[in-house]
Symmetry: C2
Subunit: 317 residues, 2 copies
Amino acid sequence: MAGVAPITVSRAINRPELVTKDTLDHIREVIARTGYVPNLLAGGLASKRSRLVAAIVPTIGNSIFAEAVECLTDRLGEAGYKVLLGLSGYPSSREDELLATVLSRRPDAVFLTGITHSPESRQRLLAAKIPVVETWDLTPTPIDMLVGFSHEKLGRAVAAYLIGKGYRRLGLVWASDERAAVRRRGFEEAAAERGVTDIQVAILPAPGNLKLGRDGLAKLLDGPQRPDAVFCSSDALAQGVLTEAQARGLSVPGDLAIMGFGDLEFAPYTYPALSTVRIDRRAIGLLAAEAMLARFEDKPVEKIVDIGFEIVEREST
Amino acid sequence: MAGVAPITVSRAINRPELVTKDTLDHIREVIARTGYVPNLLAGGLASKRSRLVAAIVPTIGNSIFAEAVECLTDRLGEAGYKVLLGLSGYPSSREDELLATVLSRRPDAVFLTGITHSPESRQRLLAAKIPVVETWDLTPTPIDMLVGFSHEKLGRAVAAYLIGKGYRRLGLVWASDERAAVRRRGFEEAAAERGVTDIQVAILPAPGNLKLGRDGLAKLLDGPQRPDAVFCSSDALAQGVLTEAQARGLSVPGDLAIMGFGDLEFAPYTYPALSTVRIDRRAIGLLAAEAMLARFEDKPVEKIVDIGFEIVEREST
DNA sequence: GTGAAAGCGCTAACAA
DNA sequence: TTGTTAGCGCTTTCAC
């Protein structure tokens, strides 16, 4: 319709600097007039670049993963990429089949949650020969790239922190998820090194929520050793623990200190008594996006990025 | 590699009932052995069905939209569809360009938030000739299909409820978003009909959060008329209002009744004193998915689905 | 700076 | 039940 070859239109859209201004203006005018929408499926097939990035997370509902996905989507969107959402559920039960179906869309990169993947999945990812960013954890042997933090160190740090504050009867209200298990191990090891060994644990199904947190604390309080400090594997559980403590008339942190994990926004303001461990969730999405974009342009990339964590102590008001 | 024509492999994958068991088994064995992954980009181009559904929401971080998207993704995933995530921000500032870029991926359907779209967007959607589901609101004239509820009715219902309880000095802590504005209108109209007109309003930027809620209540309390009941445009704001009330030593609902909107999971347990309006967020995603799937199979579909709402009253404990 | 030819990896339509 | 042919709408490559 513009009286030029298809390839010229393609250039006008994708590499306008290769087209004379006059031709460009004319093509753009025709595009605007006709409402032409390029077909990126066809473009992707021809160029072998889908401009799609797959993001596989357990869940985005009320969760720490939503913000990371949001940042990833925003940053990649700026560069013309769209995010294909894959929800694997807890405990990553569907990651394998999800990965298979998602790879058939030929994404240009994959964002993964965690570092534990089946041999088939690893194999498939390697075979796809695309940038892969694992997140939320640390390992010296990522599939490709990694943005996360050490759950073991985090567990250790919290144990040291609580024991340093004088607490000795420690309890855990804990979801049965894999990364949480590593935090627990770090916590128990560091506690043992300080002579605290009799740690009470209430294990609950993932993902945690307020109700489960209440149940968890109830279990601990009715157990053999009443804890004076409870560390929770998520802020959602911590809220439940706090609620149960309030319902039972316990003062926080006087009778019972409570620590959460994740620093969900509602926690800090709502419960000034509730300390937690802050993770820069937005950084995970952003850094993952940057890593992918760098790789698309063959720029050098840091393979492993440790974003760390921060213990946030809140005063009772 | 399997010694059959490409189309036979295609059938073995997509319509196995058309292939003899022996051929099928053989093809499947070869697929498993070689790790063949079909290219759905090519498939989509050839069949004109991308098996992609675009979901455009303002945000998924800490938000009521995340769960709807999650349900949509789950249900569509069962049917072999993947969700392309589009985040338009508040106040849908990027919806137009987002829609353009998303449509170039040739989605088989589109999930939209709200019923207000630019003429260009409506035009583009109509031109795409695919199922479109608008959500979170109601209108007699949807672009195509609709799953939502009436914000005006909801506002009216809350006004009637509060006034019925005897409250007369009403306040609103309100985000400046479009659907909230409709709820406000309904609220004020119904209040006026009952003789309550002097409603104090604190307007805050969207999306609301706890901090903004605190600020909002502070503004109202320092204003000319101290409210005895505050309705908030979201539960996030309501939490802030509650926090501020507690910080000022007000009893809830004794000195100040607070109503939220959205029924986020943390609200009911955390604040037994906090009533709210429950929206079935999961139903929105699920019904939208069902509507799309029905249309894909040319089954009859209810064009407009009102999922209603429910005032959830909580006792103080 | 622009174009012609070929082909990306599938599936629709029709044929055997 | 299986195969042949053609073509989806782009981009690559190479030529002009």
